[in-house]
């Protein structure tokens, strides 16, 4: 029973209904992804106990009932850390006192030590300051630290980067990635940004109109044609690769994926480390013969596994291409597909624009 079991029925404002019946892994990072208004934050609130679903609902974490039958464990007894979109630091306390607030209310001896948290998140210089003078990114770091200091069994993050500019959100993301490596703490991460999700999550839950429409490992869902993800404009498959040699002359680094070599922008990481690669479907094209003099560097042999027309008589089709045991998606026009007479099982070459190669620093995914 090492998971988070949910049977929720919650009616919110304007007849919004959240009806969720699923079991989520209580390890690693689980992303809850969906458009705004799909009930993501409501779901987190129900898990934290800040909202009370209809009686008969069940929330059970690692076998412990947080809500079962008539029992309802209040939020202050659930030991759930919650990082809100707006930080919610106490304005009447300094950063240090905010951290202390959490620390004095946890069970002694549990959770990380305050010095540890301060060093993980580089909070030392902010400690004596008021949270009101910090930037949005700095405030979120303090909020994450404060949540960790309450020694949670589960960390909930509700779009923690949504209010940050690009630079601050990248920086915050790096800190979160560090935490996922340092801590054995399951996290539920709510976001409507698939790139953020791709960098952080191990497991993915797709939420739509208050219902779970799909769930599975991030790599499986992103490489599939059966989910809503593939129909989004920014649909992208995620490949797992190992860092190889550097090519200092052209500022490139080799990445080994399924025995193939890709060239990506030079990385600061050590060879042998695992990295994720996000390959947007619109930046992948296919050809029957390997082009001899293309400007595209990354051309990989693949097998066509699935073809799907987008919508009724749409102009474009999505291809699912097998690269060893992993998958790429390619979005091409229906006309090209007809011209090439594409059939499932065809051996093709996928051309990936190197500009489309996104490199993240998520290396916690084994």
């Amino acid at each position: 029973m090492n998971d988070l079991e949910l049977q929720l029925d919650y009616t919110g404002e304007q007849h919004f209904q959240l009806q969720v019946n699923c079991a989520l892994p209580a390890v690693g990072v689980t992303a809850i992804y969906g458009p705004s208004g799909s009930g993501k934050s409501t779901l987190l609130d129900c898990i934290a106990g800040l909202r009370r679903p209809a009686s008969g609902s069940t929330v059970r974490f690692r076998g412990t009932g947080w809500m079962t039958g008539s029992t309802f464990i209040p939020p202050w007894q659930r030991r759930v850390g919650y990082v809100f979109q707006d930080g919610r630091l106490f304005p009447h306390l300094t950063v240090q006192q905010n951290l202390h607030y959490a620390e004095t209310r946890k069970k002694p001896g549990e959770g990380p030590d305050i010095n540890q948290v301060v060093s993980w998140l580089d909070l030392a210089e902010f400690l004596p300051r008021s949270p009101t003078v910090l930037s949005a990114g700095q405030r979120q770091r303090v909020a994450i630290g404060r949540a960790l200091l309450s020694a949670p069994q589960l960390l909930l993050l509700d779009e923690p980067l949504a209010n940050l500019d690009h630079e601050a959100s990248q920086q915050c993301l790096t800190y979160l990635q560090r935490l996922t490596r340092e801590l054995q703490l399951p996290m539920l991460y709510v976001s409507h940004d698939i790139e953020e999700v791709s960098q952080l999550a191990d497991y993915l839950v797709l939420l739509e109109n208050g219902r779970v429409v799909d769930q599975g490992s991030l790599l499986d869902l992103c490489g599939s044609l059966d989910t809503r993800l593939s129909r989004e404009e920014q649909a992208a498959a995620i490949l797992l690769g190992t860092i190889g040699k550097d090519d200092p002359e052209f500022d490139l680094t080799e990445l080994q994926v399924e025995g193939q070599t890709l060239l990506v922008a030079q990385q600061q990481h050590l060879p042998g480390q695992q990295r994720r690669l996000r390959v947007p479907a619109r930046d992948v094209s296919v050809c029957r013969e390997k082009p001899k003099d293309s400007s595209i560097l990354n051309i990989l042999p693949v097998t066509l596994r699935e073809i799907q027309t987008e919508g009724e008589g749409g102009a474009r089709v999505l291809l699912r291409l097998a690269l060893g045991s992993q998958y790429l998606l390619a979005r091409i026009t229906r006309k090209s597909a007809a011209k090439l007479q594409l059939q499932v099982g065809d051996k093709l070459f996928a051309q990936i624009k190197s500009a489309a190669l996104l490199m993240d620093s998520a290396d916690h995914h084994e």
């Binding site: 800040l50 939020p75 209310r105 309450s150």
Partner: protein, 226 residues
């Protein structure tokens, strides 16, 4: 200053202090409850709390006097409990003052509580704070200034009351003769020098208190406003 005047001052301070303490004890939960109600019907409670603002104090005093009379249930119960009469006693003044000054304590507190974001309390809850702890560690520090405002207004307003006191307390030196009544006495008997001493003293006291309040207001402008 005569002994009677010193008695009146002592009585006034005792009445205002006890009233303020009782109002903070009972007014705070009432203000908190009112601040968290989303339904419409608590408007009735709010209206009742605000009544002393617009009712002539003599109206309130009149009804309280009827209520405290020895032949009513309250009057009889009081007599059985304490062996004394409730009407025209210091205790009657305290009860009357608590009702009369209620809006001056409840309203600033309620307004301040309403400005405390629910979100901060939710954050506190996820950090392990129980409701009373949330109130003590988040609401009270954020609304500290309003507590001072409420207490000062409640105190000052009790010092300044006249009509209710006259109706239910009468004018018994050392028991119910507070400053405003003593002042009235002096004027009635054309003792203007003595009247000036009391009236001037009250003016200076009130002005001093309000200046202190507004100075705080300017200094702590980041706090939740009331």
């Amino acid at each position: 200053m005569s002994n009677a005047e010193l008695d009146a001052i002592g009585l006034t301070i005792a009445l205002a202090s006890i009233t303020t303490i009782l109002l903070l004890i009972f007014g705070t939960p009432l203000a908190w409850w009112l601040s968290r109600q989303k339904a419409k019907w608590p408007a009735l409670v709010e209206a009742l709390v605000a009544m002393p603002l617009i009712l002539p104090p003599t109206v309130l005093g009149f009804y309280l006097l009827l209520l405290f009379a020895p032949d009513t249930a309250i009057g009889r119960a009081w007599h059985q409990l304490t062996g004394t009469q409730l009407a025209f006693s210091f205790s009657a003044l305290v009860i009357g003052s608590v009702i009369y000054s209620l809006p001056f304590v409840v309203q600033p507190l309620q307004a301040a509580f309403q400005r405390v974001p629910e979100d901060l309390l939710k954050a506190a809850a996820t950090l392990g704070a129980k409701p009373l702890d949330q109130f003590r560690s988040v609401v009270m520090p954020l609304t500290r200034r309003s507590f001072v405002t409420a207490a000062s207004l409640g105190f000052a307003h009790t010092v300044g009351e006249f009509g209710v006191v006259l109706m239910i307390g009468g004018n018994i030196p050392g028991e119910t003769q507070v400053l405003s009544i003593a002042l009235y006495d002096y004027v009635e008997s054309l003792q203007f020098a003595e009247a000036h001493r009391l009236a001037g003293g009250l003016v200076i006291f009130s002005l001093f208190l309000l200046i202190l309040l507004y100075r705080r207001d300017r200094r702590d402008n980041w706090r939740v406003r009331a």
